[in-house]
Amino acid sequence: MLSVAGLHLWRGERHVLRGVSFSAVPGECVLLTGKNGAGKTTLLRAIAGLLDPEEGQVQWRGASARSTRDEFHSELAYLGHEPPLKGDLTGRENLRFSIGIRRAVSAADIDAALTRTGAREFADRAVRTLSAGQRRRVALAGVLLSGALLWLLDEPTTNLDADGQQLVATLIEEQLGRAGIVVAAVHHPLTLAGGKLTQLELGAR
Amino acid sequence: MSEFFSMSGYGIYLWPAFALGIGVVVLNLVMALSSLSTARKDARRRLEINP
């Protein structure tokens, strides 16, 4: 379903991705590990199509992700370092917009997702008044709502308390249960109950 | 000969114009060659750092 072949990428002078290759099938979670600067974020952004690799290719459903970009993106949810939310809007307004441009979504769906990620009680406050952990929970609700097959998560557990991290683990398990694919960059390996788990070490010289 | 240089009185405009034109020609040649030599130097330095 998702295959990455021989990805080379430079960031300025540094040869960050040196021929990265892996593939993932539905129901599989790929954990990207490696120290800071090893290229975890760069790899995620390259898979998502935000970065053009100088060599190598990302394939989705057998076709090059670049040539079928819009279809690929409609099946993709990317959550970077910063939760993509507008500070002056409330959590609910943010989701109504960010999911609304992808597909029709009802207020009830939004409410359910916010409840699922424990963000419901602060969903109607302006996002800039929320803590980083609370913002992360609103963003996770967005990932849930997107209904995307492929999740690309960049250190999803940052700023989250203990049960927040457990929440991320269960959400990933549920996504794998739905025959989804998750590629997540993590600092400390995540323990998952079900689903196929593979690990990809980056930056090893 | 001086008649040639006077250029029927327009010499004071004509020669600076040609000087400017040829000056830009020479200047760009020099700048191109120096940019090439710095690029070669940097490439050599980069090769030493990570062969």
Binding site: A48, G49, L50, L51, D52, D70, E71, F72, H73, S74, E75, L76, Y78, G80, E82, P83, P84, L85, K86, G87, D88, L89, E93, R96, F97, S98, G100, I101, R102, R103, A104 | -
Partner: protein
Amino acid sequence: MKAPALEVARLVAARDLRLAFRKPSQLLQPLMFFMIVATLFPLTLTPEMSRLRDAAPGVLWVGALLSSLLALEFLFRDDAQDGTLEQFALSGQSLTWMLFAKTCVHWLLTGLPLALSAPIAAVGLGVPAGAMWSVVASLALGGFALSLIGAISAGLTLGARRGGVLLSLLTLPLAVPILIYGADATHRAIVGMEIAPPMYLLGAITVLGVTLAPLAAAAAVRIGLE
């Protein structure tokens, strides 16, 4: 399953309008800047109305251009910084279409109010009352073309550290035709001549802008987001 294009445009517009009205000060600043610039000329050039009237097209148009450049810098920069612009690019919808909607809303919030408030400054520059509507029309149309071209440079300068001055340096040469036709339309309005010829040409540029600029702006934003 995918949201239809009109719905996407409506959502983008609703979002930007709501964001703008949550922080109205940002809307007023370009207008205030325009008013101040317009009042500088009588102070520096001459209080004498007839000479001011000759300078009026230039003052109004250069003032309008500079204040719209001020507003343009934040067209994409805020969204790029908080990661929402990335989600635009990853939404599976046409980025060109969404940025076009965003640019139109930007014009509604900056270009149009500027054109509508221009008569206040124009009175101070000796512009006859009869010419006011033509002045507003020329500034409104020209403002739209400016926003379209400015969107490209706003996208291009996303990757640069300090976008502000660079944005103006990129946009001004491209805005020369708009300034020429716009200022001439305003001049003709002031002297009571027919404003159609320059307005048609300005309209032609705007149509060219509507068709090509959003494509270039989308490509520029994708490059800027790398």
